[in-house]
Assembly symmetry: C2
Homo-oligomer: 331 residues x 2
């Protein structure tokens, strides 16, 4: 049994972490919920009991075995070393240590062996990278990927619980004939689509989300295949979708690829051409599996080595909380 | 002055056609509004006057000079020959004659010379193809495109006025905690994303919308460059967005491409990396121009000939009604 702490327990991902620990019957002896001072007085339900939220301090980690961080990179940088010093293993959902060469960045279905080298902190990858790699890794294993071009359809949840509420409020305003009022996002999210809100590198014109997808995918796959992402927010609540174009090493064998996906853990094939039923955010919401479909050979490909697919995954679950708890289960 | 008829006058595109004729001061002597029997009794405002909707019959076109059709391929196939026989020039927004070798398929900014060969019917291209080609043609002119990979973010309007209303009703239901009820679309459109509802070719796994983008682009550009489209519906009202990856003939010169877009009719550059302000459906709605931005060299490209961009266009205007009226202006 383990003493588990959740840092950022009141956030969208923190709340899912509590539920995932329950559902997966993680052997929790004590659950400590930590958040900023603002959340003092709140409590969250875990295994039928109310657990009060405590203020995060450097002394919060005495006796903690596993600390799940989901409170942004600044909080991680400030408090994760204290957790490690107190003897906890940190699984961090922020970008703080993801590209640190000494920190493993892990999707348990893909590179669990990287966990061995951890020095107290393990980084949970970016949600878009997780969903992309979960979808394409079964293909990569049987026919190595040489090139990825991906356009995303990212949900409000990626920007937190307040962004999800903003989508609801703006949608209600628009339906009532009022102008949507942006607050979390710079632009209206209801009934709109916009380039991802992550900070942009003015030199390359890539935003931070796109650079994460590239760099983190390389670190997880231990390669440097060319990846061209375009990250876009859409008017959905909590599941990301991605339209993926792949160039493979050998000609595309769709039957073999379908079998590979069906036989891989953490992914589910939804690829019904007759009923036009393919992965959708609404059906991926609340699901552990990343859903993969619209598998097709690229009819424009001259040598038959290109293909396309569409995938969806719950941004808060496999894109964040679930993957973090899976890491904690292994370590 | 011309006698103009609009077939499908009460539909989403038909209504925009009336407005576009007004705004562009098309020299209309008489406006005849035609629709199915169900719309009898309705009337529409044109130049401040109420024009009654008449039932479409084979005898509707006496004296008509220009007939703008937007009532689906079946109606066009049935009634366009009667309009031509009566001496009208037909501009048809359906897919009925688009790929007919004897029918010009025209975007006035791109291939106006194809209009010369018309035999009474001119086809208005698919909305996605128009918006894609408007965005990339300025680039194609200075550095010929060798390859297009495009993922779309298509609005409800592409499925008509009822689909737009369905998006509103479903969004209200979801906000009220009720389950969305699909009717026009097979799947919920509110707060969701799904593979385009066009019929799918079970053999290739491409849907009809994707095949239109490929075939119509080839006909308009008079080439057969490889195009790989993935067509997706999103929760927006009336402007399509597209994420476009291009391989060019020569290395990408972004400054030259920006200038080319700025100097091209019918497109507007919105490409501000500092403020993260790029094309968005909400800002493209009601606008004639296709908005183009997020121009960037693909940093994964080995020889510097690949680039990405994002574009948005009003599906009902440049994607349909405006392009049709522009064709009518020329002929």
């Amino acid at each position: 049994m383990k003493h588990v702490a959740i840092v950022g327990a009141t956030g969208a991902v923190g709340q899912e972490m509590i539920r995932v620990l329950e559902q997966r019957k993680f052997p929790v002896s004590t659950l400590t919920l930590l958040a900023s001072k603002r959340s003092l007085g709140k409590s969250m339900t875990f295994q039928g009991k109310q657990v009060p939220v405590q203020e995060l301090t450097h002394d919060s980690f005495a006796g903690v075995n596993v600390a799940l961080f989901s409170a942004g990179a600044t909080t991680t940088k400030q408090f994760a070393p204290s957790a490690v010093k107190a003897g906890a293993i940190v699984v961090d959902n922020s970008s703080a240590f993801r590209m640190d060469p000494g920190t493993p960045l892990v999707i348990p279905e893909i590179n669990p062996e990287d966990l061995k080298s951890h020095k107290g902190i393990i980084a949970n990858p970016n949600c878009c990278a997780i969903i992309l790699l979960m979808a394409v890794y079964p293909i990569h294993k049987i026919n190595p990927i040489k090139r990825i071009i991906v356009s995303t359809y990212q949900s409000a949840s990626g920007a937190g619980a307040k962004a999800m509420e903003e989508l609801r409020l703006q949608a209600a305003d628009v339906l009532a004939g009022k102008a949507p009022v942006p607050s979390v996002f710079q632009f209206p999210i209801a009934f709109n689509v916009f380039s991802h809100n992550a900070a942009m590198d003015p030199e390359t014109g890539y935003n931070g989300e796109e650079l994460k997808v590239i760099e983190e995918s390389h670190k997880i796959l231990h390669n440097d295949i060319p990846i061209s992402p375009t990250c876009i927010r859409v008017s959905t609540m909590r599941a990301h979708a991605e339209s993926v174009h792949l160039e493979l090493t050998n000609p595309v064998d769709l039957d073999a690829i379908r079998r590979a996906i069906e036989n891989s853990p953490g992914v589910r094939l939804q690829d019904d051409r007759k009923t036009n039923h393919f992965p959708m955010p609404l059906e991926a919401s609340g699901q552990d599996d990343v859903i993969v479909g619209r598998l097709r050979r690229d009819i424009a490909s001259k040598d038959g080595r290109e293909m396309d697919l569409f995938c969806c995954g719950d941004q808060l679950l496999k894109g964040a909380a679930l993957n973090a708890v899976q890491i904690a289960e292994i370590v």
